[in-house]
Subunit: 138 residues, 2 copies
């Protein structure tokens, strides 16, 4: 786990990690949230609306932004203020996602920074675009 | 599960549900994301930075927006385009949250609507403020 403080952060700083979306993660997200929407749970329904597989919960993909901030950038002292995400392409079970953050702006008065976030699938297609405003516990 | 279509949605329409945040949910979110940040996992650390209990992952609270859209408003045919959330107060294990959505605006050209979202704790304090842009599978 990284332990960057505000002064360690610089514009252009990047962190990246990969995560594979398994059926187990999907089942866990269902248990967590109770979101029983059939697009994510019923293959016949997903096929009936044009998909070959169940679509991964957008908020499951977005939940890895928690990891991006809390473990990687800035890590230990992270305090997420805001998150904005656009879900631009569907994610499917079995996809391997690359979660990437890059520091776009620092605010010395408030000791916060803006992290641009992009999530790509294994084909290099962007599936989530977003940004986070992040402060520090100390 | 509700099955509202675009034409069923009206400005001012509301849905609300409650969820209790347990240590099990926290453990599940850790397993899901790998976010081992000590603010959420290490009580001594949480105390050292001024909290009596471990702080709930912001993205765990936000994950219930998936349920709000996918089960309640609009329900079955929901397709979330964007989510924006501000984490305005900390949430603690044991809190009972009220997740509330109200339709603020419809766009007849794109068949999408904006849902204003607020999450309150058991003391009526707002802990998350946000909005979602939601379309339909059919």
């Amino acid at each position: 786990m990284n332990e960057y403080l505000y002064d360690d952060i610089y514009v252009g700083q990047e962190e990246t990690f990969n995560v594979k979306i398994t059926q187990k993660l999907m089942d866990n997200f269902f248990k967590l949230t109770g979101d029983c929407n059939p697009l994510h749970r019923d293959l016949d329904y997903a096929k009936s609306v044009g998909f070959d597989k169940n679509v991964v919960y957008g908020m499951l993909t977005a939940s890895f932004l928690s990891t991006l901030a809390g473990v990687y950038l800035p890590g230990k002292y992270s305090l997420i203020h805001t998150i904005e995400t656009d879900f631009v392409k569907p994610v499917f079970v079995g996809d391997t996602l690359t979660v990437k953050g890059i520091v776009k702006e620092k605010n010395d008065d408030f000791k916060v920074f803006w992290l641009k976030v992009d999530v790509f699938n294994q084909n290099g297609q962007k599936v989530v675009r977003g940004k986070m405003r992040i402060g520090f516990m100390c």
